[in-house]
């Protein structure tokens, strides 16, 4: 397939530079704040980044956070493609989480079925929760920012102040005094990098899936560049084999994993989700229609695209992605809906999508970066820095602030070229 070669221009480069410069400026704002407190900013950042990779345990936390952030980020980015701003990722995340916690304990299935069933259910429940906003948008003209904010709080209160403390509480279910819902079945737990359950066939199957996903993604990405088909095939197989080989190290060392290490195969799901959303958006008719609708609704309508149906579908998929993030948190990390829910991933997902410029791969890269920052921020809490881990929010907030102010950054970056007028 031949495509017109992307014309290189400084303006194209700017699209890439803006998020990078925003990240750098955000990091600098953080450094200034640390310096104002009379502490050594470089030392603190050093502690943060080395802390993120300092022990198996902290790497494990980075992996967990990256996986969940990727899902909520993809959720926001996906909705953005149809022109909707999904502030409701948090609510969909909570709905997905409670669905997983419920199905994990109250239905009993063999291991091979339990997790897929929970995944589908969390996807559907999160999707339906978001589809309410999509439906309100197309039938009633309700702005999705407002409706999803409302849906967020409804989800928070109904789940945390009613379901988790009432009908689904561990106290009611098992009579234990633990806060939150009861522990889910073993069959519903995502495999951690310590062996659970010891299942060789499953691991090999997983390796095959990883291989296929990596190869397909590589194939599609390479397909965009002007190389021969045969080379493309060989290269994608090599990439797939490489990724599978790398992950096999993790997969077959699971049984030697260190206790306390909570990282799980969710990260592979997240990578697969990046690939799937990428393909869905850029390589299918549905994806094309979704993007066309987001780009110019009137033109899309004129071209015969069913705008209403595409909008609701997009919100459904976006909500489903957030729902899966919730499922990852329950089945992978927490193994119950805890009494004090470690929320906020939905709101962070907004930042991930914005920083990743609403592209699946950009969102993933942003999630990796902030997975590292959030995972490492706990290390700054120790002396001599004693900076609370919510410092990550400062960095994240300022980066998004600079993204919002992207016109200023573009203007400054254009300055050396002294072009007059519009900077687009």
């Amino acid at each position: 397939m031949s495509r017109p070669k992307a014309r290189f221009s400084y303006s194209n480069l700017l699209d890439l530079l803006v998020p990078i410069v925003s990240i750098l400026l955000g990091l600098i704002v953080g450094m200034i704040l640390i310096a104002v407190a009379g502490k050594n900013p470089l030392g603190a950042y050093g502690a943060m980044f080395s802390g993120a990779f300092g022990s198996i345990n902290s790497i494990s936390e980075v992996i967990i956070k990256t996986a969940i952030l990727t899902f909520t980020g993809l959720s926001v980015a996906f909705a953005y493609k149809v022109g909707l701003f999904n502030i409701g990722a948090e609510g969909q995340f909570i709905i997905g989480a409670i669905t997983a916690a419920f199905l994990g304990h109250w239905i009993h299935l063999p291991g091979i079925l339990h997790i897929p069933v929970i995944m589908v259910a969390s996807f559907i429940m999160g999707g339906l929760w978001a589809a309410i906003a999509g439906w309100l948008k197309v039938t009633r003209g309700v702005h999705e920012v407002i409706s999803t904010i409302m849906l967020n709080w409804i989800a928070v209160y109904l789940v945390e102040n009613w379901l988790v403390t009432g009908p689904l509480s561990a106290v009611k279910a098992t009579g234990s005094s633990d806060a939150g819902t009861p522990i889910i079945d073993g069959s519903a737990m995502l495999w951690r990098f310590i062996a659970y359950p010891p299942d060789q066939a499953g691991r090999i199957g997983l390796l095959v899936v990883i291989f296929l996903v990596a190869a397909i993604v590589a194939h599609y990405i390479l397909n965009r560049s002007p190389i021969a088909k045969a080379t493309n095939l060989i290269l994608s197989l090599v990439v797939g084999a490489g990724v599978a080989a790398l992950s096999s190290i993790a997969i077959f060392q699971w049984q030697y994993g260190i206790p306390g290490d909570r990282a799980n195969i969710g990260i592979f799901f997240a990578m697969a989700a990046v690939a799937i959303t990428f393909i869905l958006l850029y390589r299918t008719v549905t994806g094309y229609e979704i993007r066309a609708t987001g780009f110019n609704q009137e033109a899309a309508r004129y071209a015969g695209i069913n705008i209403k149906q595409r909008t609701i579908l997009t919100m459904f998929i976006a909500g489903g992605l957030s729902g899966l993030a919730g499922m990852l948190m329950i089945c992978g990390t927490e193994r119950r809906f805890p009494g004090v829910f470690p929320g906020g991933y939905g709101f962070d997902g907004i930042a991930m999508a914005l920083i990743g410029q609403n592209s699946p791969i950009g969102t993933f890269l942003a999630s990796v970066l902030f997975g590292i920052i959030r995972g490492g921020a706990t290390s700054m809490q120790l002396p001599p820095y004693e900076i609370h881990k919510t410092f990550a929010d400062i960095i994240q907030g300022s980066v998004v602030l600079f993204i919002a102010a992207n016109n200023i950054i573009r203007y400054l970056l254009m300055f050396p070229f002294k072009r007059k007028g519009e900077v687009d």
Binding site: L33, I146, M150, N161, A351, G397, A404, A405, N407
Partner: protein
């Protein structure tokens, strides 16, 4: 017994509703000029924190409030610069401020007070204003007249007969006698006295503000300009209105109200800054603003309604000994109720809510 419960409920309604109302009105002023303010939650947090810092170092709550307001004004200026002058995405900016405030205030709390829980007690307004029965009587008249005014102007707008003079005359004819009659009705006087005694100054501010804003928006030329800019900036520009001046003023005012709302929680209701503040009140304020159809008096009504749902939990707990069936309503449902109602309102089941036409759209001079 029943009067006691009523007084307690009204007292906590006023406490609970004050920050929401002030912040909601901040949203009203900004969005009427066409700038979405999603940052209310974050700005309440900042305002609340800096009010405590100011009060801590000066020992004077008024100076604390001044610092909070100053902080709000500076943040508002920044917001206006980015979103109005540089046409930054208003929603994204709001999200950024909320996230930044979350981490930033925790960081500053640790820096200033060496804790991540709550600040030490500072001098504050929390002891409240002790009022006399005569004052309560006057207050009752004010409340009845204010309520009458709201109802009259609402129904006149409903009949498409909005007229400032007629509204005032009707209010005076109906409200004043009614208010004076009520003020000689002892139980009503006692309830008002009980509900308002030892409330903070913020409560009075919040009660007067909607009427002030209503007057500003609908009875002055500046209000007309603000609404024109929010509905059709191009037409307003053609008529020689400076869009940027109006929007800057409204955004800064909006952030100042947000900061006052935050201060009303930290140095108003309490005398500390708690790291959980404002615990979603900024978003309730947003909901109230929408439920109130972007109008000051509408927002007042919405907040009254939301606070009723908010204190319903306490009320139900108080009444559940007498009526056991009430105890079976889960708290989560009561918490979620205002939001469900807002969603229904938005969907048009409970009166349609339509934002100002140019709300959220950056304006660029000379754009086609």
């Amino acid at each position: 017994m029943f009067q006691q419960i009523l007084i307690a409920a009204l007292f906590s309604m006023l406490q609970f509703g004050t920050p929401i109302l002030i912040a909601g009105l901040g949203g009203v002023i900004s969005e009427n000029s066409g700038v979405v303010n999603l940052a209310l939650e974050g700005i309440m947090r900042m305002g609340g924190f800096f009010a405590v810092v100011g009060a801590y170092y000066t020992g004077n709550p008024w100076l604390g409030l001044a610092l909070g307001i100053g902080m709000g004004a500076v943040m508002g200026l920044l917001a206006a610069w980015v979103t109005v002058s540089w046409r930054g995405d208003q929603v994204v900016y709001g999200v950024a401020v909320n996230v930044f405030a979350l981490g930033g205030m925790t960081y500053l709390l640790q820096l200033f007070f060496n804790t991540t829980g709550h600040s030490p007690p500072v001098s504050s307004f929390s002891s409240g204003v002790v009022i006399s029965p005569t004052f309560a009587q006057g207050l009752l008249v004010f409340l009845v007249v204010g309520l009458t005014y709201a109802v009259v102007s609402w129904s006149m707008a409903r009949m498409k007969r909005s007229n400032a003079k007629k509204t005032l005359i009707l209010t005076a004819v109906i409200g004043l006698p009614l208010g004076i009659a009520f003020s000689f009705f002892a139980p009503a006087r006692e309830v008002v006295f009980g509900a308002f005694n030892k409330q903070t100054i913020f409560v009075y501010f919040a009660l007067i503000l909607p009427f002030l804003l209503h007057f500003l928006l609908y009875q002055t030329k500046w209000g007309l300009r603000i609404r024109a800019v929010g509905e059709n900036p191009k037409a307003a520009d053609t008529l020689g209105i400076n869009i940027y001046v109006i929007r800057y003023a409204c955004v800064i005012l909006s952030y100042v109200f947000g900061a006052i709302a935050g201060a009303s929680m930290s140095i108003g209701q309490l005398d500390i800054f708690d790291n959980h503040m404002p615990a979603g009140k900024g978003f309730i304020a947003l909901a109230a603003m929408i439920f109130g159809k972007w109008k000051p008096l509408g927002t007042l009504a919405a907040v009254l309604f939301f606070t009723l749902a908010g204190v319903a939990g306490d009320l139900i707990q108080g009444l559940s000994t007498t009526y056991p069936v009430l105890a079976s309503i889960p708290r989560g449902w009561l918490n979620a109720f205002p939001y469900m109602l807002t969603l229904l309102a938005l969907a048009g089941f409970v009166g349609r809510a339509v934002p100002p036409a140019a709300d959220g759209i950056p304006y660029e001079k000379g754009e086609k």
